[in-house]
Symmetry: C2
Subunit: 411 residues, 2 copies
Amino acid sequence: MSIVVQKFGGTSVADSTRIKNVANAVIREYNNGNQVVVVVSAMGKTTDYLVKLAGELAENPNHREMDMLLSTGEQVSIALLSMAIQAAGCPAISLLASQIGIITEGVHTKARILDIKTDKMKKHLDEGKIIVAAGFQGVTTDGEITTLGRGGSDTTAVALAAALKADRCDIYTDVDAIYTADPRQVPAASRLDTISYSEMLELARVGAKVLHPRSVETAKQYNVPLRLRSSFNLDDPGTLVIGDDKMEIYRPVTGVAADLKQVRIAVLRVPDQPGIAAKIFSSLAADNISVDMIIQSLEEGNLNNIAFTVNDSDLKGAINVLERVKLDINAGEVVVDGNIAKVSLVGAGMVDRPGIAAGMFEAMAEAGINIKMIATSEIKISCLVDKDQAEEAIRSIHRKFDLDAKVEMQK
Amino acid sequence: MSIVVQKFGGTSVADSTRIKNVANAVIREYNNGNQVVVVVSAMGKTTDYLVKLAGELAENPNHREMDMLLSTGEQVSIALLSMAIQAAGCPAISLLASQIGIITEGVHTKARILDIKTDKMKKHLDEGKIIVAAGFQGVTTDGEITTLGRGGSDTTAVALAAALKADRCDIYTDVDAIYTADPRQVPAASRLDTISYSEMLELARVGAKVLHPRSVETAKQYNVPLRLRSSFNLDDPGTLVIGDDKMEIYRPVTGVAADLKQVRIAVLRVPDQPGIAAKIFSSLAADNISVDMIIQSLEEGNLNNIAFTVNDSDLKGAINVLERVKLDINAGEVVVDGNIAKVSLVGAGMVDRPGIAAGMFEAMAEAGINIKMIATSEIKISCLVDKDQAEEAIRSIHRKFDLDAKVEMQK
């Protein structure tokens, strides 16, 4: 008997009509003879409402209490979805992270999963029950409630699938598949039937919002077959995300995306001594701030400028850290540029093919777009451009690499 | 250092302004040098909203899932109140029933508390923290979430006070004290400074809604000094509920109240054989239906009529049980009368004083009110009357026993 993990986001359970639709999608898998674990997020705007309430009571609400507060959203959803499944005649049981045993570290509001117990879930599955599991939340070994931060529910689904050795993990969303670019920005974008973990990871990291990079990383690590599919059309197979080794690497580039939520921070005139860069970035890491696209350029004498990007929600925290560190390391000003977008081209095939980067820069030049910063990885090239030029950049690159044509599977 | 338990109901935490007021009331006790545990209910209409959602999804929602759903209401309140207390500069920590260890039996939606762990609470109190505890909820030894049913948050507060051997337990409400009758029905009602557990218990049981009988019973059992006081006027000492042995019994009657939420059920022509009454009432008890005011009257031959009252919310359940049982015991029809009110006179002093019952019946006769059923206990006399005559009955009795005059303490 196959184990299938399904995940539905907040808009899919926004009201009782939609919850009934989700119940139907769940029962469909169950009636196909599968053991089903379904992970749900909080209903529609619940989280926003709770965050607003917290904001009325405290300027900087305690992180532990935020987790206590926000985790109720998923608890409401799992109870209601269980009731809906039961009302349709199928046995179901809702389980909190603390009841399953989704053990996390104690970092509130952005905890990482350390371990998942499977005995309770297996017992219920073997009794023929559908398990309705709360996404986004975890519990420490001390019984403290944590939440997983961004992309939390996707991560819960993939982690449960990994722990249960599920046959597949289906992430239901309001889009029907993964595309070579955001179809709202590039109408000619093509649908992908298959994509590798690494490609998906890079696409997700650079701003394709359909799957959170964290859940893709977990899927890659445990080799969980991940399917992104539409909650509006249950017959559509969507896009399958699988192991790099299972893909024929035939596409030099998979897709292009823009991330508009980054800001660039530069620390000027940093003394060129060993350990200085480490001091900056370990201080940021200590405050749980993720840094992307680091560039160090020689200024004059033995002074460097160090620039990097962070998510705009981390800007305030990053500035706090840097204003402290700059005194410590005897650096100059900290300068922020918020008017940027990170445009990225992703493709597992680019490792073997020269000229991809050159093609990308040509596409930008043809569109008259100035590149502010460049960073590359084995399967990705990212450029910082002015925010208002991001869409034009994407369209130009998309054309340049013939992504406008439907990508055919060449097996 | 004294331990004080405070309890605030749903209207006291209905929005962020009121939550801040509660935070002030809590901090006031804390700044007086007390160790403070505050118990809160769900915000305002939250529970009604959740019940409505459940009703949209299932006609008869599973009780376990209802507990999963409803317990989120208190979880939201404790997180927000903690944040408000912290924002005002005091250390606070919210704790769920599962985190404290409020262990209950497994009867969902009306579980009774079996045990309360105190080690975690004591640790936090000794660290100088205010504990914000979720009312209404419990946890089984298997980690299942339960709720305590009606009067649940009051019961949580009293039970925590008992477990912690608190110096007092203050129940904050929207009334300022306990009165000899409901002031809305009897404008001349007098305020009571002190009342015994037994008197309060009978008053609560007969419809005085200020304190749930269950919480009073627990307070009596563990001798917890209970104070009912106003959340709008923190300087008002309210009414102290204390041990019978600590009271001078000087009042023949303490108060009079009407319960409009009862219905009378009669089972006609029940064979007069041993064990038949037991069969009826043990079947009702098995479905967790509480029965009040049982009267058995001889009909004719060896047939009895058995009449009793139940809470109107239990009517449907009771009828289901009785329609089954009546076939079993070969009885006649089951007849329901919903147009009734139970008017009760309560007073620990009545045990030694003859003529109290007679006085009550006289008061009813003077007001031209017909009595449908009578039941008495050592400190209470209850009469069933027509629902629309309940207020007149209360006023007449109140006058008859000189309760209209302010009851002075006669020590």
